[in-house]
Every structure is written in C-alpha cells, then in structure tokens.
C-alpha cells in the first residue's frame, strides 16, 4: 500500500531542470555560447580567502591555542607555544577539513599558518 502510494507520488513529481550549463547536460553546440570555463575541470579550485578562513578557524579551535593570537602569519611553535606533537595534530585537522592526504615529508615542513595556507591553496585536490 505504502509502496504503491510512493510510486504514485513519484510519478507525479516534476523536478525543475537546472539550466546553468552542467558538463553532462549541455550539448556540444551550446559550448561556445555558454561561459568559457563551463567545461573546465579547474572550476572548483578554492578561493584563497576561503582557505585562509578555514585554516584560521581550525587553529583557533585547537584547545591549547589562544584564539586572539592567531593570524595568518603566525608560527605554531614559536608564536603559539605549541610543540611538534601539536603540530602533527593541527596538520591532521587540516587534512580532514580539506579532505587531503598530506605525505609525511611535506607535513614535517609545515610549521606555520602561512605555510599551511600556501600548501592547501596550491594543492589540486583541496575541497
């Protein structure tokens, strides 16, 4: 009974088709009239201000850190008084936020907010 009702409802629903030129739905001859970057795979690259905001939020919400001292130039161990274990934790949190996998060699070099922002911004898979 419920499944028949559901099928009936679904048969009557009409979802509006999005007309913003998604890659699969636009036929090829429309390509020239829509925006130049509609087929570009680089569209979902993050804005630098977004990256900065998200990374600063992560550092500020770290329990051992005083949020008022956090700027984008701050050094984790020298300015915020953290140690290398806290450094690893912060980089882990950044990995989870941006859905990245940072290899050990690169992660050891990330010592400050500025380096973290630069690394994430330049990483092609950051989201």
């Amino acid at each position: 009974m419920a499944s028949a009702l559901r099928a009936a409802i679904l048969g009557h629903l009409r979802v509006p088709v999005l007309a913003n030129g998604s890659n699969l739905l636009t036929p090829l001859w429309i390509h020239r009239t829509t925006s130049v970057r509609s087929m570009s795979s680089h569209d979902d690259h993050l804005e630098k201000s977004q990256v900065i905001d998200r990374i600063l939020d992560i550092v500020k919400s770290f329990p051992k850190v005083d949020p008022s001292k956090v700027t984008s130039e701050v050094h984790f161990q020298k300015d915020l008084g953290l140690d290398s274990l806290d450094n690893v934790e912060i980089i882990m949190a950044i990995e989870e936020e941006f859905k990245l996998e940072i290899p050990d060699k690169e992660a050891d070099k990330i010592d400050s907010c500025a380096l973290a922002i630069e690394y994430v911004y330049n990483h092609p898979l950051a989201s």
Partner: protein, 109 residues
C-alpha cells in the same frame, strides 16, 4: 691462516654485542608513529571509540615526551607500535560489528 679461521666466530660475538645497542627512535620516527595513530583513528566507525583513541594517543605521547633515557624511549616506542597494531585490529573489528544507529555526534547538520 689460523687467525683467519678465528675471525668469523669473533665477528659473530661482536655482532651479538652490537645488536643489543639499538639506537633509540629518532624524532621523525616518533612523529611518524603519532601520525599513523591519528590516521588509524579515522577508520573507526563509532564516534566514541574514535575520540577516545585520539585522546589516549595524544595523552600518551605527551606523557612520554619528557623521557631522556634512550632505553626507556625505545621501550615506549615499541609499546606504541604494539598499541598501533591493537588500534588497527580494533578498527576492523568495530567496523564488522558496528551498530546500525549512528551516534548523534556523527551527524553533520
């Protein structure tokens, strides 16, 4: 020629002595172990055990941070490696018998 015949056994004894003086783990190895711990906690399906393992790993590493005696550092490091294997095994077991209802802290709104 006789000396040559003795040296293999002498060097065997030397190797036996050298093997006990294993160098303590370097800073990089310890940080790498810590990072492996944190990565392994991501695979837990249950919020509670995931947070506990993370907290426990962080506390244990901080507690042992101040050790200076190389043999105790090595002992702590091998204990850490053993615990890492335990954590990985448990992550697998938890995923097999995971509860059907997720913890409310896992749901992102």
């Amino acid at each position: 020629m006789l000396l040559h015949a003795h040296t293999p056994s002498a060097s065997y004894f030397q190797e036996g002595k050298m093997a006990t003086a294993v160098p303590p783990p370097s800073r990089k190895e310890i940080l790498s172990l810590f990072r492996s711990f944190l990565r392994s906690t991501r695979t837990f399906s249950d919020y509670n055990i995931r947070e506990y393992t993370k907290r426990r790993a962080i506390d244990a590493f901080h507690h042992n941070k101040t050790l200076s005696n190389p043999s105790s550092v090595s002992a702590a490091f091998s204990d850490g490696k053993y615990q890492l294997h335990v954590a990985k095994r448990q992550a697998l077991v938890y995923s097999i018998y995971s509860p059907t209802v997720k913890s409310i802290m896992d749901i992102n709104y």
